[in-house]
């Protein structure tokens, strides 16, 4: 071997090449016959230990990147799971609403809550906007319901959206009936007392736990739909009659989808009364016609 090109004669160079070719061919023949184990053992001595060590180092270096990548994957998966869970809950809610629509003989328009107004001083729940308006037949004064009960009523309607005033608002009053005793009163909101049932007869038989449903008088709210449950009986200092504090049937803070009752058929309201059928899943069947219902109605 020389230090610079051309320092070996041409013949010597060819001789070197010939030797290498012969050596290579010999190795190939040995290898083909499987007699190369001794030579291949060199790999285990000269290369493999260093390769193994460096592979470990490379793996350590790559570990951080892999960790970051896995964290990103985990985050993506978590977001997907959250989105799927949300979809699943939404599907459940919509299924319940569909069942409700099928059971309830009314013309209903499904709507989504798209915005909530600020909570007013006089109430714990603000008015909210739904994504249906006059274009969809939603007009002011129409009732807004859910399978679990009455939500409120439309107080303003524009072309594409409407404002709903919830039950927990001083401006919303509903003619209500105790399911157990058929006693009728007016359900309303007061900032001091909360949701309460007033205008009950002096000797009304009312007790905590009694369920309250809409009477349907006033032709706004469908009869028989749940309004809430009595939690406490007090004496109304203004009228001297019993006053019942009511726990609402709905969790107003978590409402996302609602139905607007487009047209209340005469037969489903006062004329027929809530006894005709049990319209709402979960609502108890009424058993007797209303008594002093004439004075009560939705305002």
């Amino acid at each position: 071997m020389s230090a610079s090109p051309g320092s070996l004669s041409r013949r010597s160079e060819y001789l070197v090449l010939s030797l290498i070719v012969v050596l290579s061919l010999a190795l190939m023949f040995l290898s083909a016959d499987g007699k190369d184990a001794a030579v291949r053992a060199l790999n285990g001595v000269a290369l493999a230990p260093v390769q193994a060590g460096l592979s470990g180092v490379r793996a350590l270096v790559g570990l951080r990147a892999e960790n970051d990548s896995l964290r990103a994957d985990l985050m993506r998966a978590s977001l997907e799971i959250a989105a799927l869970r949300e979809k699943s809950l939404e599907a459940e809610r919509l299924r319940a609403m569909l069942e409700f629509r099928d059971l309830f003989p009314l013309r209903l328009r499904a709507a989504r809550v798209i915005a909530r107004g600020p909570e007013p001083i006089t109430s714990i729940v603000g008015q909210f906007l739904i994504d249906k308006g006059e274009r969809d037949g939603v007009l002011s004064g129409m009732a807004v319901v859910r399978p679990e009960g009455i939500v409120g009523k439309v107080v303003r309607s524009s072309e594409t959206y409407a404002v709903v005033r919830p039950l927990l608002h001083p401006g919303c009053r509903v003619s209500a009936r105790l399911v157990r005793t058929r006693t009728v009163g007016i359900l309303g909101w007061d900032n001091e007392v909360g949701l309460h049932l007033t205008f009950l007869p002096y000797r009304a038989e009312v007790s905590p736990g009694d369920e309250i449903v809409a009477t349907g008088l006033g032709q706004v709210f469908p009869a028989g739909l749940p309004l809430g449950r009595i939690v406490k009986i007090e004496n109304d200092p203004l009228h001297g009659t019993p006053r019942a504090v009511v726990e609402p049937a709905l969790d107003f803070a978590s409402i996302e989808e609602v139905f607007v009752v487009l047209r209340l058929p005469m037969s489903s309201a006062a004329a027929r009364g809530p006894d005709a059928r049990d319209p709402a899943p979960g609502a108890r069947r009424s058993s007797a016609p209303g008594g002093a219902a004439g004075r009560a109605g939705a305002r």
Binding site: E13, S24, L27, R40
Partner: protein, 167 residues
């Protein structure tokens, strides 16, 4: 002699880097062939005989780590390095373009020899290997040639280069 020891050390490093880190250097699945790049550069610098010996050793390292016939890459590398070394005096060896083009052509030639020895597939098979494997790898390896050449000059300078550096 020291220079050749340094070449051997460089070859060892190249083989290790090739076998351990080359997959991380892959671009669209194409990896450079570092031991062969060193072989070509040594052949360019040191001539045909030295190149052939170096090619034989570098090929042997590659063969040891592969499942192919022992001596196959040794033979191919040695022959190609001999050809490169024989032509070296007629080339402008310091020119980057020369280093890139020679590496590219040498890679293609080496692969053709291996294909011929390993699996005579005829012209179609050779052309397929050339297009799919040899040329992309040759381009990648050739692109690294100027950098590798500069490193080699610093790591194992020839006497003449040393003198020039001292002046």
């Amino acid at each position: 002699m020291i220079r050749f020891l340094r070449f051997s050390l460089a070859l060892y490093v190249c083989v290790i880097v090739q076998t351990v880190f080359a997959p991380s250097m892959a671009i669209v699945g194409i990896m450079p062939d570092l031991p062969f790049l060193l072989t070509v550069l040594v052949a360019l610098r040191e001539g045909a005989a030295a190149g052939a010996v170096f090619g034989f050793v570098s090929g042997l390292f590659v063969d040891l780590g592969s499942a192919e016939l022992l001596g196959l890459t040794s033979l191919a590398n040695a022959v190609v390095a001999f050809v490169v070394g024989s032509l070296a005096e007629r080339l402008v060896r310091e020119a980057r373009l020369t280093q890139v083009v020679v590496t590219l052509l040498a890679t293609a030639l080496r692969d053709q020899i291996v294909v011929l020895l390993l699996q005579p597939e005829g012209l179609g098979g050779s052309l397929r290997v050339l297009a799919v494997s040899s040329l992309p790898r040759g381009i990648y390896t050739g692109a690294l040639a100027p950098l590798a050449h500069a490193l080699l000059r610093r790591f194992a300078p020839r006497t003449r280069e040393l003198g020039r550096a001292k002046r």
